[in-house]
Amino acid sequence: MPEKPSDLVQGTLDMLILKTLALEPTHGYGISVRIEQMSKGVFRLNAGSLFLAIQRLERDGLIDGEWKPTENNRRARYYTLTAKGRKRLNNETREWGRQVAAIGRILEAS
């Protein structure tokens, strides 16, 4: 029995989506599959929270959406990272690193 998928740390979903799109533009399903793969099944996304985050990011101008045909001839919305989104990702990655290091230090203190 595989371990139950974990809930994401509050506020990290946006960062993960941006990271995914930084590698390659893709559609909603692509994002969720890739996050699942990269996290080795630890994070499984609920459709509602995924599309909520996508709408938010698009409205903030961090990603751009575009209708395109998929491999099996359906239509899907493909998202690409904007310049602004890339900047945000860099900032958040740096900030995340700082926080993780800090939290690590606290937890390791005896």
């Binding site: 559609h27 459709a47 509602g48 938010r56 903030d60 359906r74 899907a76 919305r77």
Partner: protein, 893 residues
Amino acid sequence: MSLFRNFATGLRSLFRKNQVDRELDEELGAYMEMEAAEKMRQGVSRKDALREVRLERGSLEVAKELVRSSSWESVVENCWRDLRFAARMLRKSPGFTTVAVLTLALGIGATTAMFSVVDGVLLRPLPYPHQERLVEVGLDLPGINQFNWPLRPPDYFTFREQSRTFEDIGLYFTGFGAAVNSVNVTGLGRPENVRALGVTDGVLPILGVTPLLGRSFTRADDEPGSSDTVMITYGYWRSKFGGDSSVIGKTIDLDDKPSTIIGVLPQSFRFLDMTNLGILLPLRPRTQRGYNYFAVARLKPGVTLAEASADVARMLPMEVQGVPAAEVQLGLKWLKESRIAPNLQPLKQYIIGDVDKVLWILMGGIGLVLLIACANVANLLLVKVEGRQQELAIRAALGGSPARIAGGLLLESLVLAVIGGALGLLFAYGALRVLIALAPSDLPRLNDIGIDGLVLLFTLGVTMVAGLLFGSMLPLRYAGVGVGTGLRETGRSVSASRERHRARNALVVIQVGLALVLLVSSGLMIRTFHALIHVQPGFTEPAQVQTFRVHIPPAMVKAPERLVRMDQAILDHIEAIPGVSSADFSQAVPMDASADSGPLFVKDRILPGQLSPARRFFWISPSFFRTMGIPFVAGRDLTWDDVLNNRPVAIVSENLAREYWHDPSDALGKQIGRGPKPDRQIVGVVVDVYNDGTSQKAPAAVYWPLTDAVFSLGQPAFAIRSGRAGSQSFMSEVRQAVWSVDPELPLSAVHTLDYYYRKSTASVSFMLVMLSLAGGMALLLGAIGLYGVIAYSVSQRTHEIGIRMALGGQGEDILRLILGQGAMLALIGVAIGIAAAFGLSRFLSSLLYGVKPTDPLTFLGVTIMLVLVTQLACYIPARRAMRVDPMVALRYE
């Protein structure tokens, strides 16, 4: 940038809702399909794959709802939906909506109308630049018991030259009371008497007025002997010269003197509160005498009123410098004994006078009516919402959040309020007309009253506050209604719970209390008015006395003897008119505010180092008392011999006679005078006349032969006692009589004596009418409110009443039960109202006459009336309860 993008996307989804929905559907659908396809590739059937996806990723519909509701435009959409829902609910119950909207329209309309008056008269600044720096400069003379007097020309020169706080000061002359300043204009069609204003060169610049055409007066125009110049107002220019701009330099005849038009004033020009002003003349202060000239000054920036007053006080003693040596002693003595002191007021305050109190009280009264109206609507809404408990409970059960339901109810109240407010605004337009018609004609700035931006803003504010006020009563109690209780209670219920009625009862109690406050106020005004009209004004049957003034140009008749003869000739012709029982001419008519005042010296009663107090002076011809109907207490009337030969005689009022000699007949033969050497003999004593209105003490008055004061002969006030007084036909005969002496003589101030008498009680009757209207509305609304509560309670208790009757209760018992319930509410309201009225009625005390603010009779009467009306309001539903058929009632619900 992203804010804009967010907004644009939001707008798109608002207005292209279907497309946006389809796209979301498609995107989510594609997502599901792709995942399902992945699972099918692992050998799962399509049906199972889709089910698994739903289980793992959550329902498609929930995801959609989540995405949709997270955006701001969905809030807008919800509001819009709630708004349409609110409109539908209101349309569904037209009876309730009509009553609520009308009640609100009445309340908001009355409040708006009253506020436009307050705004126009009290709040709006005067139409002069930096009006806050304008002051009216007057004097107090406590030594002769006179206050707020105008200035003498020497005061003006001193203040103009020596002041440290005035930028400039100007003197002006408008006339006194009914004796307005005016000139006869001839040579422009029919001879006309035109309202005129005398000004020194500073007045117009002080007010920041520049002429539309030509120039303003200069100091040269004010010098005696300079050529005669005149400025005309815009209205006069348009009506007499058709707006011809070549009017500058033209000559018109004013009082038979050719004068050159040098300027036309702009259309916006208004001089203080004067109406129908046509002509402005240089005042020429060097040719004028006496305390007759008003003064307006502009303070230097940053100077306070107190500093300016101190400055004037510093300058007053300087006046004796530069006068002839012989007069210095006299001047110093006058300064010392009159204890002269400055009396400076902001110009706006001077114009408004003391009506601010009346208007604020009325504003408060009308505001109470609005409160009562709001309470009524709140009550109606409570009933309405109680009937909708089931609906609300279902909405809550289906997942409607309390906030959303409460918001919806509040929105319904606001929609009601806005409809009521819009209708109220329409109503206010009409009510304002009525209000202006009711207002005393001497209400200052009457022409400034109207519905402007501030009034509209006020109406909007009042509407919103009203909506929130009665709307907030609901959500508090019903939004949080428990799913279980809400659904259960709508089934067959036990007798109505006490708690449910508490809010409604409280509202009715407040209504009754507020209504009592208003009714007490109007009751006190009624008592005041009653007391006022029962004061004998001194004259009798004033409606039968026709008065008017004739303006004889000074240039026309040079010698005073000829003036008297001319006035006498007019009198002869008037007396020949059929129906005239008596006629006279004098310098002033009682109560027309044009009588003079000055210190009166009484022989053997002159105290050294102390001035005699000022008395009211009338200059009269014989038969003045007969025409006015003022009875004699002692002595005799004047004769034509006294008048024509200016004999040293005088007549005094009874209170003056009693003040010095206790018995009026002892005054006869005593000597009085206007100077320190009294030489005029008192030949008669007449009853007191309430010249300042019946609410004021009757001033002590002295009546001199008309020939004693030459200045009054040129503008005599004629009075005629006749049963035909006040009619058009009578006045046209009177005009013919005047014109048969000289066809160029215009008449002015055509009024009956009753007009002046009524004017003196005008502000009291205005208050009376307005407060009675407010009280009547309050009583009606309060009664409706109580009726509503009792009627609803009866309908809720039908079941209980049925049981009582089935167990042997009699109709009378039920009637008593219901009436008792109403009486209890009314009495609690009355108790609160009495306490509030005790506290509030002292604001009225300065307007009351002959009655105390805590007058027990008024309080008792109003209480009895209120209890009776409320009992009547309860009686109707109580009768219905009495007729309840137990069988029907038990089957009820």
